[in-house]
């Protein structure tokens, strides 16, 4: 049994990201003017500085950009090894998520593997984890 995951402190900016999974949505901040994404979320677009930004549900698929197989149990009871990965999201250019690749053996994770989001619920937080698409 894994220990509880660290809990992000919610605010108006990050709430759509961390709780969107309740509706099955992976929300990333999108600019209504220039169409670029801003992540981590800001109250403005980091590309054109427009304040016309809002959370947008993205496809939730992507590819393993890089990863590390972690063997060190950083918290008591943490089941290792586990895969920590950087996923590049489809249709969200320039945005990466640090996440875990789950539901497969650690040795089955490779560069450029296609993955999709799967949410892990813990309290009000829905952690966006990823699993391989077969």
């Amino acid at each position: 049994m894994n220990p509880p995951r660290p809990i992000p402190k919610l605010d108006t900016l990050n709430r759509p990201f961390w709780t969107g999974g309740a509706q099955g949505k992976l929300n990333i901040t999108l600019c209504g003017d220039c169409g670029e994404y801003t992540h981590p979320p800001l109250p403005l677009c980091r590309h054109c500085q427009s304040e016309n930004v809002a959370p947008h549900a993205v496809p939730g698929t992507g590819e393993v950009d890089t990863f590390t197989i972690n063997y060190q149990p950083w918290a008591k009871g943490l089941e290792v090894p586990l895969v920590i990965a950087r996923v590049r999201l489809d249709d969200v250019p320039g945005v990466y998520l640090t996440t875990n690749i789950v539901n497969c053996a650690v040795e089955d994770v490779h560069f450029d593997d296609k993955v999709r989001v799967t949410f892990e619920e813990q309290g009000e937080i829905y952690y966006p984890l990823f699993e391989k698409v077969n």
Binding site: K9, P40, F67, Q72, W74, I84, T98, L129
Partner: protein, 387 residues
């Protein structure tokens, strides 16, 4: 009065240990007094104080002493002082001091970095540990996925380097092997490294987070390192060989641990050469931040000692970066061999080498050195010259 140049003059370092009892302010005084003495100054001549990242109230072991603490303890009347983490990286505190002495705000500024993480872990009632159960700021994007350590972040960049360019674990191992070999000649490293490391020991050790095994990660230690930066027009007051800060850089494309394609050494590296006639060919020794073993590879490539992707080949076999090689690297043992001094050890060693004070590990005729600190979005580089 403004001064055209800034110089590193005296340097000092306290005992380096693991779970030291000595109070961190006293460690800081040890380092500071040693640096002042090495410069041939008295404490009354110190009129500037700079540190990184300033006192860290929420996680005291990381930085238990601030600039104001040293000013109070030593009775320093400072023309300028600063302790900040919002600066390119650890060695940027020395850069800030250089700017201050050039501006004429102070003549002799003491820069220090005090770490107390090993002692703090042993005495959590006195030094509260870093809270990891609730996260905010940038750590909310990594910690919830058990990516607690910078090793988990930097390890991903290292793995991709291996995937893209073919760097091998045997090549990467040379960073740690070189560190422990050199550490045997550094009296200050005795508590950290007991003996040389063999390739077999390296390959058989336990993995922390791929590709980093135990030997690829620096170790919490307790220590203070102090470096005095003096104005060019105040050199007649010092009695040690001054080391000119010939250039410095600290550029970063974007401050993020996971939204950028590469670590900031690739941004700050090229910028170091923008305003100097020196080139990589002039460099006699490099002291590269090695909190994790991959980082010196990024500095070798970022600064142009080799091409991007060629760092693994560059250090293959370890001869080139050894004490008798073409480019002696981390001659004091780096952080892997001499403890997590958090950046300042690299400037300390570069100055000692250029002053001819590096004892058994002294390299011949060292005139130009590069010292760097940082990993991920942190990057600061100093070009130091005995000219």
């Amino acid at each position: 009065m403004a001064s055209k140049e800034a110089y590193i003059t005296g340097v000092g370092q306290s005992e380096v240990g693991v779970r030291l009892e000595r109070h961190p302010l006293l460690l800081t005084m040890d380092a500071a007094n040693q640096a002042i003495e090495a410069a041939g100054l008295t404490k009354d001549q110190i009129d500037g104080v700079f540190t990184y990242p300033g006192k860290s109230a929420g996680y005291l072991g990381f930085s238990p002493v601030g600039s104001e603490d040293l000013m109070e303890a030593m009775g320093i009347r400072a023309g300028w002082y600063a302790g900040s983490g919002e600066i390119p990286a650890q060695l940027a505190a020395i850069g800030a001091a250089a700017m201050a002495v050039k501006q004429g705000l102070c003549r002799h500024a003491i820069c220090f970095r005090t770490v107390y993480e090993a002692a703090a872990m042993a005495r959590p009632e006195e030094y509260a540990p870093l809270r990891r159960d609730k996260v905010e700021g940038w750590s909310q994007w990594t910690n919830p996925f058990w990516a607690f350590s910078a090793g988990c972040w930097i390890g991903q960049y290292a793995n991709r380097h291996m995937h893209q360019y073919g760097m091998t674990r045997e090549q990467l191992a040379q960073v740690a092997l070189n560190a422990h070999r050199n550490a045997q000649l550094n009296p200050n490293a005795r508590a950290i490294s007991k003996k040389e490391l063999t390739m077999d020991e390296y390959m058989e050790s336990r993995m922390i987070t791929t590709p980093f095994c135990l030997w690829d990660c620096d170790r919490y230690s307790d220590c203070s390192t102090a470096i005095i930066v003096s104005a060019g027009d105040a050199l007649d007051e010092v009695s040690c060989p001054p080391v000119r800060i010939a250039a410095m850089s600290g550029s970063v494309e974007r401050w993020s641990w996971d939204q950028v394609d590469w670590v900031a050494a690739y941004d700050a590296g090229p910028d170091l050469w923008k305003d100097t006639d020196y080139t990589v060919k002039d460099v006699d020794t490099v002291q590269f931040y090695d909190g994790f073993a991959f980082l010196p590879i990024t500095w070798l490539e970022g600064l142009g000692f080799c091409g991007k992707g060629e760092g693994g080949q560059f250090i293959e076999g370890g001869t080139r970066i050894g004490l008798n090689g073409d480019l002696p690297m981390n001659t004091f043992g780096g952080q892997l061999g001499a403890g997590r001094l958090h950046g300042f050890g690299f400037a300390h060693e570069a100055a000692l080498q250029l002053q001819g004070r590096a004892g058994e590990r002294q390299i011949n005729d060292a005139k130009v050195a590069v010292a760097t600190s940082g990993g991920g979005p942190l990057a600061a580089a100093l070009l130091l010259a005995q000219d």
